[in-house]
Assembly symmetry: C2
Homo-oligomer: 496 residues x 2
């Protein structure tokens, strides 16, 4: 109860079942949540109960990014989600999307915030925001992520706050909430250093907009730390050697520039590798902070980290919360409109490290689709970072599915990052530095340095035939064969 510091809101406290009655059929619902952190957990269950009891409810669901099973999972299972923006990773949602049950628009995360403000995605009716507290004036103190929460609160007709008492109040003070105006009134965003604070530690909200407050006590379903496998370690070594060489050539400052990285095994290996490297005074300007960021702080290498989500593994969480004061002044959680903003990423000169599902010999990257048709997750923030980075790196293992698939192909089956946006490609086999090269030079480097031995000859064969067939044109392709590797996989189970 002490968590609701705005006295006039006390009488808005109710059960999740009562609050869920505010959600209308056919409406747009926006929630907190980013990379299974800080999403509402009690309200979706209550909404699902309405449907179990026979009501017909369909909503469009807008979040920051991916959320946990208590939201995406249960609502997808009950068939409650009609549309979904802007990013997801939940298996139930994914299956519903790939069978046409849910309409999914895969949006750059930084764009999603402004599309909401511009009204491009419709009028949000209800916001559901997980919080650790409500301030004296109705300000909402987010929990482990900010995502689009501030924008959703700003745009929604009404707001439901889910206060999660499992989330410690000490999170208060970590957030920095700032919202841009719409053009023509937009100003420069006054961040010029990773750790600049420019806003408020809570989401401003007119208390009259808050129609319900619900208490919950359910943990974030964050992911376990991905094991660092052998190939991830090799990729990390390749990448760190590349960065060292850039410093030696005078093309990067000796303390590097702020780093962004995705999640998963390679990211962990890279950040682990930095821990034991000669680099120090590091900064992160990223989307998500994981255990590896805490490790880098512990070893004194990471000065400050900005992100929009804190997704600490279950194993590490107790320790983190016990020692939160050690970390608090080093971590800033911002809205994704800011964490992923082109203006800031370009100003700071972020080094971005993202994952490809597959890359082609000319440097185009597919981050979202399997064999052209099935979506995995979505583009997330990878485009925001890659396009605006000082150096944009993509990593991928050279093969997938036990070698039945080559992740280096003649032509990717879907393009998320074009040849214009991919500067460096890293696999366990090596690095292809594509900057300034023509497509044909890129192809030779990617095949030689990055592809797997089992597929090298096939790639050379394709490339040389394409060169001959097109009289050595800018980007040689034999269109009949360009996607034949994928077809072969679909037909035989292997690209070989």
């Amino acid at each position: 109860m002490e968590r609701v510091r705005c006295k006039k809101l006390i009488d808005k406290i109710m059960s999740a079942d009562e609050a869920a009655m505010f959600i209308k059929n056919n409406s747009i619902v926006g929630t907190s949540g980013f990379t299974p952190s800080g999403y509402p957990k009690a309200l979706p269950a209550a909404l699902a109960r309405r449907v179990e009891n026979g009501e017909n409810i369909q909503i469009d669901l807008i979040t920051g990014a991916s959320v946990g099973p208590e939201l995406d999972g249960i609502l997808a299972q009950k068939g409650i989600i009609r549309r979904r923006y802007p990013y997801q990773t939940n298996p139930d949602i994914r299956n519903s999307i790939n069978s046409g049950k849910i309409k999914y628009n895969d949006i750059h995360l930084s764009h999603s915030a402004q599309y909401l403000k511009y009204g491009f995605l419709g009028q949000i009716d209800t916001a559901i925001i997980e919080a650790v507290a409500i301030t004296e004036d109705g300000g909402i103190v987010p929990s482990t992520s900010v995502g689009n929460s501030n924008v959703i609160v700003e745009c929604a007709n009404k707001v439901i706050v889910e206060i999660n008492t499992w989330q410690p109040q000490e999170l208060e003070g970590m957030h920095d909430i700032y919202s841009t105006s719409n053009p023509p009134l937009r100003k420069s965003i006054p961040i010029i250093n990773v750790c600049d604070r420019i806003g408020t530690p809570y989401i401003p909200c007119n208390p009259d907009k808050i129609v319900a407050i619900v208490f919950s006590d359910i943990t974030d379903k964050t992911n376990k730390v991905a094991e660092i496998d052998h190939n991830s370690k090799l990729m990390a070594e390749n990448l760190i050697s590349f960065l060292k060489a850039e410093v030696n050539k005078g093309r990067l400052p000796k303390d590097l520039l702020p780093l962004q990285s995705g999640v998963g095994s390679v990211a962990n290996a890279v950040l682990g590798g930095l821990c034991s490297s000669e680099f120090s005074n590091l900064y992160f300007y990223s989307e998500v902070l994981q255990d590896s960021a805490l490790d880098l702080m512990d070893c004194g290498k990471l000065v400050s980290a900005s992100a929009t989500s804190l997704t600490i593994s279950p194993e590490r969480l107790d320790d983190f919360y016990r020692n939160i004061s050690n970390y608090k002044d080093k971590i800033i959680l911002r809205p994704q409109e800011i964490s992923n903003n082109p203006e800031i990423i370009r100003k700071l000169g972020v080094i971005s490290i993202n994952t490809a599902i597959e890359a082609d010999i000319y440097g185009n990257v597919n981050s979202t689709h399997i064999m052209g048709s099935k979506i995995v997750n979505g583009i997330g923030g990878s485009g925001d970072f890659a396009r605006n980075a000082y150096i944009s790196v993509f990593t991928t293992q050279s093969i997938a599915l036990n070698g039945r698939v080559s992740s280096i192909v003649p032509m990717v089956s879907h393009v998320d990052h074009t040849e214009h946006d991919v500067m460096v490609l890293v696999t366990e086999n090596g690095v292809a530095d594509l900057r300034g090269l023509s497509p044909k030079e890129r192809a030779e480097l990617i095949i030689e340095n990055c592809a797997h031995e089992d597929y090298k000859k096939m790639l050379w064969d394709y490339y040389i035939s394409a060169k001959n067939k097109t009289n050595n044109s800018q980007t040689p392709h034999i269109l009949r064969e360009a996607l034949s590797w994928h077809e072969r996989y679909l037909e035989t189970g292997s690209m070989k």
Copy 2:
């Protein structure tokens, strides 16, 4: 002579042939020039003469964007260009690129400036900059374009200035030169209105870096105004109706937001259409200003225009120069690092209008390649604008080559603008507003509203088969058929 106001530079005046001796074999040369305007004309001819006289000279050529025949044309013909960045439109260059003689890296125009500063493209040895004057302190006053000139001067070992007396001195004062620092020292760019001036009217240059000054008197080879054909008129009408509807829905201010548009028939038709529309108080934040911008100023609709190049047709030029004082305070010419800067484009909320060679049913756009392999021009600034625009529009005729080719295809043969970046597609047949839609919804809209009658059924057939074959997945494709239309064209001369 009065044009060289820095007295100590007077003795650097020499003939083009003498100045051309400063250019070294195997070196990187950066020049002024953007969309056939403001490029050096006497120096390249002198360089070509050295080769005609038996010398072996190979250079990497970096410009702002496309330049005229006196530079790209002659140097390509003589085989002098080894590498070319970042954009070209010259037939000789294009042929050399598409036969493997010139290595071409097709870079977002706003990226090209910072790649130079970061050292990613190598050390520029010689800068050759067309100017209308040199100031008392050695400042270089550009002529009809800025492009990358300021960055090239900043990065080059030595500078040759080509003073073109055909270009009127009254151009002085139109430019606003501002250069960003490299991270970690980069600041926000203080432009919040189209007409904000933030820099100097000349390119700052240490006079000691200027090794030669050459006089020339050769006109820019700007293009004639493209005739507005029937289909361009229809596309413009479709687009203007769309913008009106957005205003009516409250999703655009009544005076719109700053406009960017490419060049050519459609752009002319759109800008012509605005002249006779109810819109007023318009602003341009674009790359290139053409005759149509002057028309819009004449009819009192265009308040102010910012670009990096002024490419007035030969027919209109005399009139423009006679009345330059009417236009001068309404036009700002900026470096392309600024005209195309994501930070500013997003801050101002630019409405971007660019051209597609082809688009696919899911909203991916190809702006650069014919049938996947041959490059036309390059991505230019279209990516800078489309990715950061308030609304990003792509226009294309629904068919090309007299109907033997559909510009709406199952899958584009090259991707420059991904499904994540294309909000609105316009053809002569109609508009597809893709915002917020799933790929399948986009496909239905694009086929129905944008495709040509002759290809509609074929597109529906592909789409429905793909849906069936992939069990209604996110982005249904039959990879064996996805590029078969292009193959058919290559084999039979028609997609039908």
